[in-house]
Symmetry: C2
Subunit: 146 residues, 2 copies
C-alpha cells in the first residue's frame, strides 16, 4: 500500500494554492510548479482533474489561475487518494500471497491491516485544511524543499 507521486503532487499543489491564495490573488501553475519543483504540465493535468471534481477552482485568462473554494479546505484526504490513486491500493497483500485474509494471513497480514486501518482512519478524519498548521513559511518549506 503506497501513494503515487501524482497523489503527492496533488496534495502539495492544493496546499500551496491554499497557503498563497489569500487576498484574492490567484495562483498560476508556473508558480506552483517552480516553487514545488514539480513538472509543470504534469501538475497541470493533475490539478485539472481536481478542478473538475470541484475540490479546487480555476479561471483562464489574464490574472487567472488556481484558487480555493468552499470545498477545498474541508476535503478529506481519503477523497483525494480515491480521486488520484483509486482505492484498490488498500486491498493488496504486501507479500503478494494469493490467499491472504484474516483466516489465512500472510506473515505480515496483521501488521498491514493495523497500519492500513490507521491510515484510513487518519485520512477519513483529516481534511486538507487540517494539515495547515504552524508557521506558514515553515510549512511551505516542508512541501517545497530544494
Amino acid at each position: 500500500m503506497y501513494f503515487s507521486k501524482s497523489f503527492g503532487y496533488a496534495l502539495r499543489g492544493i496546499l500551496y494554492v491554499a497557503l498563497m491564495n489569500d487576498e484574492n490573488r490567484k495562483i498560476q501553475i508556473e508558480e506552483i510548479a517552480s516553487r514545488l519543483s514539480v513538472p509543470r504540465h504534469f501538475l497541470g493535468k493533475i490539478l485539472r482533474t481536481i478542478v473538475k471534481q470541484g475540490i479546487l477552482s480555476s479561471t483562464k485568462g489574464p490574472h487567472g489561475g488556481f484558487f480555493i473554494n468552499n470545498k477545498t479546505l474541508s476535503t478529506q484526504l481519503i477523497t483525494l487518494v480515491w480521486l488520484i490513486d483509486g482505492t484498490q491500493r488498500f486491498d493488496e497483500c504486501a507479500l503478494h500471497f494469493r490467499k491472504c485474509n484474516s483466516a489465512h494471513p500472510c506473515p505480515l497480514h496483521s501488521k498491514v491491516v493495523e497500519y492500513r486501518d490507521s491510515v484510513i482512519g487518519i485520512f477519513g478524519e483529516t481534511t486538507i485544511g487540517d494539515l495547515i498548521v504552524g508557521n506558514k513559511s515553515d510549512f511551505i518549506r516542508s512541501i517545497a524543499a530544494r
Copy 2:
C-alpha cells in the same frame, strides 16, 4: 513503502521449492510457474539472481532444476527484499513531502515510521524457513491460489 511483484514472485518461488524439494527431487521452473500462476520466463530471471547470490541452488540438464541449500531456509526476509527491491523503499515519505523527518514530520510520519520499523523488525528476525508452518498443502494453497 511497498514490495514489488517481483519480490512476491521470488518469495513464493523459493517457498514452493522448499516445500516440494524433499527427497532430493529438484523442481523445474515450469512446475513452479504453473503451480504459482506466475510468468515462466520472468520467474526464471528472478530465480537466477537469487541463485547467483547463493540463496538457492540449481543445476541444468535432465533431472535438473532448483533446490534448496544450506543458506536457503536461514535467509532473512530482509535480505530478499534488499536483493530484489533495494532498500530505499523504506526511506520515502508516504505523502512525498520533500522535507519529512522527525523534526518536520508530515501528518503520516509517525504512523509510517512505526509501521516501517515493525516491518523491518519482523523481516530482520524472520527467515524463509520460519514461514513454513502448519499443514503443507494448506500452505502451498496460500501461495499458489487460483
